[in-house]
Each structure stands twice: as C-alpha cells, then as structure tokens.
C-alpha cells in the first residue's frame, strides 16, 4: 500500500509573524504563527513546516519560543528551518518541539554537517532544503534542463547543480528533500514539475515539492507528474482561498491516496 501523500502548509516566519513573498521578495503579512499552525492542525494538515526566513542572513537564532508555542498546539510532525549552523542548533530546536530540522545554507558551506547531523540525530529528522532556479549553463552546450541552487533565502548563487546536489545530500544521510523552485515561488503558476520529477527520480528519499502553488490542481500535478511524496503550499492556505481539507478532497478525487 502506498503511503498517503502529505499536504504540508508552510509558515514562513519573519520577526514572529507569518509572511509570504513572491519570488522570495515583496512580503505580505499572514498572521500569528501559533494561530495559523493551530488552524492547519485542525484542518487535517499532515505536517507543518516552519521556516525562519531571515535567520541566516540576519545571523539571528531561530525564534525558539515561537517554535515552542507552535509545538504545543500541533500534534502532527513539525519541521523547523532557518539559521541552523551547528549540531547544537538542532538540539535546541528539537528540544523546543521540532520533529525535523531543515538545513539549507549550512549544508552548502559544510556538506559534512549533514553527515554529522544525520548520524547524530538520525536521518529521519534531517531535511535538506534546496532552493533551485532554472539556469543556462554557459559551459555546457546541451539543451538539457538544469537548475542551480541558491543559499541565503535565495540571495546567493552557488554554481551547484540541483540534481547532483540532491543525490549528494541523500548519500550524506539527509532523510528528505524540501525542493523549492525559486522561479515558481509565490507566482501561483504551479510547481516546476520537471525539476521535481528530476530530483524525485534521482534520489531514494522523499521529496517535498514547493514553490508556485496557485490552485488545487497544482498539488495533484506535484504528486502525479512531479513524483513528489509531499506537497507544500503557503499562500493558497494562508489567505483563505482553500482549506487543507478541500485540498485533500481534490487530491482524493484525482485518485491520490490521502489521509482524510
């Protein structure tokens, strides 16, 4: 029996508020993280992801107390990311109530960190977040689709190929990949399905599709065409367009196994 495909509302948090931007800029307030998380837990979300979006660039610690408050209201898995630089950051977040920790920039600077973290805490709680953008690789003449990964909330290019990076991170012990298309993020044009499918086919760990959801069909496409194990969305839930329950019903109607 296949596992139920997961629907994961994502809370991008900045200064203690849930926010949402388009292509990683142009930010709009979406409420109090505790209230928002509670709402999604009640609506039957399968998981919640909580990203402190400015933690790395501002060199701030993730807002542990907000994590604590959110964790009190949420009896489904909670993934927290943003500003994770050392093993102790992971311990602190787990102790605050997180179940999984998402690592992005630090994995790029110190890939060995993912090895250490997964062997210390177990692969099941280490998520590697990849922010990828479709790109023209000047050194290569082929017409194949390629994506480059970015760090610092999408502000710094790395020159690293997203597919190769995903394979390496899986080898290093990552338990899951949170794959965000920067081209799609906030545009409501749908996931980058080619990117999602390429990463999903290349690795044996679960892939969460992220970036660009504008309607419920996009969620279905992420699973059926992108091969994602879970689909993440923010705006469509934050601003009341759809409930998680409606999203699940739409997926079930399209023949996707979900937990209703």
């Amino acid at each position: 029996m296949p596992l139920a495909k997961r629907i994961i509302p994502c809370l991008d948090v900045d200064n203690g508020r849930v926010v949402k931007g388009v292509n990683f800029v142009g930010i709009r307030d979406a409420g109090d993280p505790v209230e928002v998380a509670k709402r999604y837990n009640q609506q039957g979300a399968d998981e919640i992801t909580f990203l402190d979006i400015t933690a790395t660039s501002d060199k701030r610690d993730t807002l542990l107390h907000v994590v604590e408050e959110v964790a009190k209201e949420v009896f489904i898995p909670l993934t927290v990311g943003g500003g994770v630089r050392e093993l102790n950051d992971i311990s602190k977040l787990l102790n605050a109530g997180a179940d999984k920790i998402s690592v992005n920039s630090t994995a790029v600077f110190k890939p060995e960190f993912i090895k250490q973290a997964s062997s210390h805490f177990g692969s099941q709680c280490i998520v590697v977040a990849i922010d990828a953008k479709q790109t023209q690789w000047q050194s290569r003449g082929d017409a194949q689709d390629r994506w480059e990964i970015f760090t610092h909330g999408g502000r710094k290019a790395t020159g690293i190929d997203a597919i190769e990076w995903a394979i390496k991170m899986a080898d290093f012990g990552a338990g899951e990949i949170l794959l965000t298309s920067m081209d799609g993020d906030g545009t409501k044009a749908g996931y980058d399905l080619k990117l999602t499918k390429s990463v999903s086919d290349a690795t044996l760990i679960p892939v969460i599709a992220s970036g660009g959801v504008g309607n419920l069909e996009h969620l279905v496409d992420g699973v059926k065409l992108g091969g994602a194990d879970a689909v993440l969305a923010a705006s469509i839930f934050h601003f009341g367009e759809f409930t998680v329950q409606q999203a699940k019903q739409a997926m079930r109607d399209a023949g996707v196994e979900v937990r209703l």
Binding site: A98, G175, G227
Partner: protein
Amino acid sequence: MQIAVIDFGIGNLRSVEQALHAVAADADIVVTHDARVIAAADKVVMPGQGAVGTWFKALDERALTAVVKQSLNEKPLLGICVGMQALFEFCEEDGGIDGLGVFQGSVKHFSNFHVQQEPCLKIPQMGWNQVTQSQDHPLWQGISDQSHFYFVHSFCANTQADQPAVVGTADYGHKFIAAVGRDNVFAVQFHPEKSHDDGLTLLKNFTQWNG
C-alpha cells in the same frame, strides 16, 4: 496518576509530554531518567528515535535497564518507535544488538523484505500509513480500523515474529508490525504523539488503561 516518560537524551520528548498533557490534564507527566521516579510512577512511556544502538547505550549509561525490566513486568508500559523495537529479541541495526526480549523475533531493515519493484519504496518509510487492527485491544477504543498513523522508520518487525502478540499491522512493501501487545505492555511502531486525533485517542486510552 503519575506517568514517567523515560528520557534517553535523544529525540523529541517534548512532543510525547505535550500530547499526554493534552489528553490527561490531571495526570502528572514527568520526563525523567531517574530510576527512582520511574520505579514509583504508575505508568511508563518508553519513547525512542534514531538508532537502537544509541538507545541501548543510553539505557546502560543511565543505569535504567533494571527499572525498565521491572516496569515491563508490573505496570502499563507504552513503547513508541525505537521504544517498541527494543522490546524484540534482536535488532539488526548498528551491526546487531540484543533486545529486551519481551516479544519474539527480530527487527530488520525494510530492504530485507522489499522485492525489486517500480517505483521503488523509499526508506525510511516517512509518512501516514493505514493500520489494520488485527486484534481488539483497549488502546484501540474509539479509533476506526484502517486509520492513518504517522510512521518514521527504516527498520521493522515482520508479522511472523511473535504472531499472538501482534495487535496491529501496516503494509509498506510487505506487512509489518505496527502495534504489539502482551499483558501490561503495548508498543507501537508509529508515533501516536504525531498522529493527530487518532494518535491522541490512543494516548488517552493508555492513560486510562490498567494493563
């Protein structure tokens, strides 16, 4: 009523603690690695995340083996995830380690059971799977058969192991043990503390169960 949640120094204990608080507001929930507190508690929860070798190392370093064995004989005890796997005779993880032997059989990596198939099943199994209630049990009260629970694991116990004690099964490439119980011991491979309303119902049933 006092419920001791054993602290092995690994994983997310707060989730278990908070979920128990949510379902039993009057209970005294203590997260502890003090053998005396565990010995005095009315009920024991034995959580576990990560590797079983680390779990046994913590059990040893914290000198908790005796009190855990004693609890297994005399009071309601709930094992969760690695806290369930440790109850079998043998765990293949970390080069192989002897378990507590409450239940017969071995805990093995999923890859031992999966046949080559397309698309291949991802390991760890991470997500919501349906549980078949293969026997009635007070801890299933109020939970529909085939409800979804949240699993995160790479190792599992085959249903052939200790068949009479199998209380629930799930299917991920093959049928494996999702819940196992005998007398005062109940243990689950999934995470009730992360399994939304059905998980909370199971925990509530545990707080009301006399073994």
